[in-house]
Symmetry: C2
Subunit: 431 residues, 2 copies
């Protein structure tokens, strides 16, 4: 194995500084029928980009040996690394290994280690090893077998006439760990690493944000900064290219610092971190407890908060008071308040926040009342009108929002805004 | 327009019965960097399959005119219908129209209707029409402009030397309605329509289900029946091929009838319908009201129920009693019960269901208590242990579950099981 890697490093590595081109071929008729999405191509592309390997083509073909052969020949003519996904299973439809062997004019040979491994599996009572399973132990001559920790189809690593050919199983839960743990380390280092970081921004629209950082977006060529409008938030993707991980990270840090200086508290998280992660950490750190009373969000705020492991340390209770009766009888919102101001009003939101705080004996209480739609709106109080209140030990504040979108979107935007109100309070509170 | 369609129908339609082959080319460097997934290819493939047009290839290239040209030439050499997505915007990166015109050796000509439409848009104060925007009004000679109701980039329909070439904008919210509403009706009918139906099954694992219907899965070649294990449910996809929609539907109905005869109440929905849709319809129809008390599911049951528009007709209230204090003080679960049986127990689940039913004065009450993990489990009461109780006007029943998976998975499985308990009760109740 090592000799392969060393020879490839010589060919593609830093000495020559040559860029490597990759092509990803996915096989599977279910992809062409639109029954599943080619998420493997996205995953592999992202990992290859990080490694500095340029992906120039994705191709998808069905379980058809003629068209797979055509795709393989084309890919081998224009790429240095060809990666396939799918077609390594035991059934008749699984043609990838046979087709690769034919295109490369290599015989298929049984791999003794894998055959033993399979035989051991099939000694279990009731399991019968078929000729189809034996097929899975065959490898093109000269290939390395890549063990599959999550399935019976092994992967294949093959170096042939200056090309690297990698065959991966189709199911993402098998392909992803195999590629990350076993294939990526074998691929030669390149001259240019590509690392990305995402800054997540809320409380300001995409165009307003662009106005705040427009000069930075244009001026930068390395790292590049690209905005992406997401649901309820805007992402800025910073991508740095450099020879080493260290230089990449320094470039990312520098750009992040400039952006945060402009955008301030609008930046709420980085990369995988979510709004509720940030809020949960702040509540934990400040040892504050929370209870929430929801109407139009219907439990989504409670659900989001309790998705975090350990949330029982700070989340005491939630009430979904969908009916007026529940708001009055269980939560204790004064009936007169609802009559006077209407159930969707600042006064009712504030009362809900204060009542749940008092009932649960928590440090903080939140109240949400609004109209999620699609019915129930009026000219005065349209669909999307939502009041969100936060009761703290010292005061109760309320914000009015006009959200757009479908019922589920309005629920999600309201929850995101409620969490952001909490986040901004917790930032000031510590300060 | 009509003449184009008629001539294509003659060429590809029922008279000749020739199968049409399609290729989908997606452009966009962000696809090759793994920043986004090629969901357009899945969407288009599914729609084309339903229309009986065989998709043989998906290709993805970056925003690079040389490689797009190579992909177009190859696609035109092997497919009857070539559909591209992306590259129709106003920026320098947007190259699709120019490249298609060059490959087909057609000049680009301004489309007066679209230019007027754009000019009208840009009379709004503060909007300035640039040369880049004018570029969007250019079309290859002989092409039809397809209006974009959701963006500024129009689509293109082009018939050239016996091929159909369709250029679509990249954003799914623009591409999907344009293709469904404006392109699909233009594509000629074929000899073989492909229609699918999904039956959704719960309360029985994938292998147990396969045992119940194994002979049907093997015996059928038209329609085919394929199982697919989903989260908390199993799907059976029935796919029928025939010359007419009518025959397809008859084949689907026949297969569905056989499967339902075997699987009985385990079949809970078809196609787009979800578990909560079915439960909501039954509650509405039977005019029953519901209130729920959740512990480990943290509000997800309330959230799921209130995602349905009109849920205020039957959903009165939810309580998320995350702490023991909340269960005792607010819900009124006897403290002695929690001390004696533990908070995760059949008795506590039953009490939660009865108490919330009584508090909310609803017809039905549900109580859920369990351990969502990853911490908090013991040998006796492991992570994933969940009790779900349903209080009805006549009785209170409880089921014990041992779910596997991560915290969010356990929450979702518990909610699915709670809804299924409700569904089964409502079926019997009406019977």
């Amino acid at each position: 194995m090592w000799s392969v890697v060393v020879s490839l490093k010589k060919r593609y590595g830093k000495e020559k500084g040559r860029a490597m081109k990759a092509e990803i071929i996915a096989t599977g008729t279910e992809l062409l029928l639109g029954q599943i999405t080619n998420t493997n191509a996205r995953f592999l592309s992202e990992k290859l980009a990080e490694k500095g390997i340029d992906v120039y083509w994705h191709t998808v073909v069905g379980d058809n040996t003629k068209r797979l052969e055509e795709a393989l020949r084309l890919a081998l003519s224009r790429a240095d690394v060809v990666i396939t996904s799918g077609g390594l299973g035991p059934t008749m439809d699984d043609l990838t290994k046979e087709t690769v062997a034919r295109v490369l004019e290599l015989p298929l040979e049984p791999h003794s280690g894998w055959e033993e491994h399979m035989t051991a599996i099939f000694t279990r009572p009731g399991w019968v090893m078929t000729n189809n399973n034996r097929k899975q132990a065959l490898l093109p001559q000269g290939a390395k077998l890549i063990f599959n920790d999550n399935g019976t189809a092994p992967g294949v690593w093959l170096e042939h006439q200056g090309k690297i050919i990698v065959l991966l199983p189709g199911p993402p839960r098998e392909l992803e760990p195999m590629f990350t743990e076993k294939i990526l380390p074998l691929l030669p280092a390149t001259d240019s690493l590509l690392l990305s970081r995402i800054l997540k921004i809320t409380g300001v629209g995409e165009s307003a944000m662009e106005d705040m950082v427009a000069d930075l977006l244009v001026a930068q060529s390395n790292p590049t900064i690209a905005p992406l409008a997401k649901f309820s938030e805007v992402h800025l993707r910073i991508t740095a290219k450099a020879k080493t991980r260290h230089t990449c990270l320094a470039l990312l840090d520098e750009a992040e610092e400039k952006l945060v200086a402009r955008l301030g508290v609008h930046v709420f998280a980085r990369d995988q971190e979510t709004m509720v992660d940030v809020v949960a950490q702040a509540l934990q750190r400040q040892q504050l407890t929370l209870a929430v009373a929801e109407s139009c969000t219907g439990g989504l705020l409670s659900h989001t908060l309790t998705n975090i492991s350990g949330s029982s340390n700070y989340f005491l209770e939630g009430i979904v008071t969908y009916s007026n009766a529940a708001k009055i009888n269980i939560l204790g919102v004064p009936a007169g308040l609802i009559e006077e101001d209407g159930v969707v009003s600042e006064q009712v939101a504030k009362s809900m926040a204060e009542r749940i705080k008092s009932l649960a004996q928590s440090d903080l209480g939140m109240g949400i009342t609004g109209i999620a739609g699609p019915t129930g709106g009026t000219a005065e109080k349209p669909v999307g009108l939502v009041y969100i209140a936060l009761a703290t030990p010292d005061s109760v504040i309320c914000q009015r929002f006009n959200f757009r979108g479908k019922r589920e979107n309005i629920k999600e935007r309201a929850v995101m805004s409620a969490l952001n109100m909490l986040r901004l309070y917790l930032i000031q509170h510590i300060g």
